[in-house]
Symmetry: C2
C-alpha cells in the first residue's frame, strides 16, 4: 500500500513483497523534505535491484538499511546496499549480536527528514528482535504504523525455537510493547503467507489465534508447533550477522 | 496496504494477494457508515474463505462483488460469494458479455455508504475491461485510487492477444482514461509479478516501459510478446462469463 498523511510532513510509503521467502520489505521516505531521505526495513538481497530502482525513480535518497532482527529465512539486502550505495548506514538492535553501522535500543528514535521511527524491544522470536513504530506526535503519520518483524504476524507470530527465542519473552514483548499501542495502529509484519498485507493492533488483540490466549496456553501452542528446521538458516544467519555479506560469512 | 482518509467518510481499505495467480483482490468499505457497507474488487475463488473471514471480523456488510473484466487466469470468487452471501450483487461491465446482477458503463457510479467508485471504460486487454476510480469530491479519499485491472500494471500492462484484446484500443484507453487522472492517483492493478503493491499515475506516465512509448512502438511491442497460451483460460473464461459458477460452465 501507499499513502500520504494529512500532516505537513508527507510520508511516502511502499510495501514490497518477495514471493520466494514471503518477506515484506518496507520503503519509507519524507517526500516533503528537500532531500527526500528514505529508509528500507528488512530488505532482501534477491530483490535489491527492484528496490534500488524504485528509490531512484522516486528521486529518494536512501539513508538507512534497517533490520527488525537477524533473519533465518533470507539474506538481508543490507550488505549489498552498503556496497552499492556507500553512504547508507545499516541499523539493527544491539541485542541482535549482528554487525551494523548503528545499534539501536528501546526508546531510540531513527529520524528521516522530519519523520521518525521509535524503537521498541520485542524479543522472543529472536533475542534481538525490535519493532519500529512511527512517531507519536501530531506531525507524524496518523494512524501510527508498527513494523513488527516476526514478533506479530497477521493472525500469527514468529516461531520461538531457535536464535535465542523464548515464547515467554515473546508473549510479554507483544503484550507490553505492541498491544499497548492504539487499536488503529497499522501492523506491517516481516512476512505473510496468506496474502494479507496489513492488520491493526485492534484486530490482532481480538483475532490473533495465538496471542489472544493466556500465557500458559500460548507457551504450550509454541512448544508444539513441530516446525521443520529452516532451510535457509545455516546460510542466512551467518551472513546476516555480518550485515548480509555472504562471502564474509564463510 | 490500508489507510484512513482525512475526509468525514472513512475508507477502510485492504489489499489481498493470491500467490498462485499473483492476483490482487481489493476490499473497500465505508467504515464511518452505520452499516459499514463493503465491496470486493476481483475476488478469487480459492481465497474466498480468507476474504469472507476478514469481512466478518471487521464487522463489514458485503454488498458488491465486482470484476474489472472476465479474467483468464483465475476463477472469480463472485459466484461462490453469491451462493454464500445471498444479498451480494455481482457487478461487471456490459461490454464484458458476462452474466452479473448489475452492469456498469462509462460514467456510472457505484456507491457504498457515502463513498463511491466511478466507472471508466478501459478496453484493450479485453473488450469489456473497466477501471474503478474513487470519487472526485472533497469527501472522497485523497489521493484518488484507480483499480485498473489488467489495463495498467505496475511498469507493465495486460496482454492484448485474446478475449477481444486490441493494443490500439488499450493504448487509447490508458492515455485517455487513466493517464489523465492526477499524478498522485494511486494505481492498484489486478496483478503484480514482482512484489510491487501500488504505483501512481505520475510514476507510470514516466516509467512504464510500454505505455510511455508512442502508439506505433507500443503496438509493435505488444505484437511481439510471444506469450504462451494461458494455462487457465479454457476453465476460467467460461466460468467467469457466468459469474464464477464453474458447474454451470460445463
Ligand atoms: Fe525471523
Ligand atoms: Fe486479465
Amino acid at each position: 500500500g501507499s499513502y500520504s498523511t494529512s500532516s505537513s510532513s508527507k510520508l511516502l510509503f511502499r510495501q514490497l513483497f518477495d514471493k520466494e521467502s514471503s518477506t515484506y520489505t518496507y520503503l519509507l521516505a519524507d517526500s516533503s523534505h528537500p532531500d527526500k531521505p528514505a529508509l528500507l526495513i528488512d530488505p532482501v538481497d534477491k530483490t535489491l535491484d527492484r528496490d534500488l530502482t524504485i528509490i531512484q525513480e522516486l528521486g529518494l535518497k536512501l539513508v538507512y538499511a534497517m533490520n527488525t532482527h537477524v533473519h533465518a529465512d533470507h539474506v538481508t539486502g543490507t550488505g549489498l546496499i552498503k556496497s552499492e550505495v556507500p553512504d547508507v548506514k545499516s541499523v539493527i538492535s544491539k541485542a541482535s549480536g549482528a554487525k551494523a553501522d548503528i545499534y539501536v535500543e528501546q526508546g531510540h528514535k531513527v529520524w528521516f527528514g522530519d519523520l521518525f521511527l521509535e524503537v521498541r524491544a520485542t524479543p522472543g522470536h529472536t533475542l534481538g528482535c525490535i519493532t519500529y513504530v512511527t512517531g507519536d506526535a501530531s506531525d507524524q503519520p496518523q494512524p501510527r504504523m508498527a513494523f513488527t518483524g516476526d514478533a506479530v504476524l497477521i493472525r500469527g507470530c514468529g516461531r520461538t525455537d531457535f536464535q535465542g527465542g523464548s515464547s515467554e519473552q515473546l508473549y510479554k514483548s507483544v503484550h507490553s510493547q505492541i498491544f499497548t499501542l492504539p487499536d488503529d495502529t497499522l501492523i506491517y509484519p516481516a512476512h505473510d503467507y496468506k496474502g494479507f498485507t496489513v492488520s491493526t493492533v485492534g484486530e490482532e488483540r481480538r483475532y490473533n489465534p495465538r496471542l489472544t490466549k493466556d500465557e500458559e496456553t500460548f507457551k504450550s501452542i509454541m512448544a508444539n508447533l513441530n516446525l521443520p528446521y529452516p532451510k535457509m538458516i545455516d546460510i542466512a544467519v551467518p551472513a546476516n550477522l555480518v550485515c548480509g555479506i555472504q562471502s564474509k560469512a564463510t
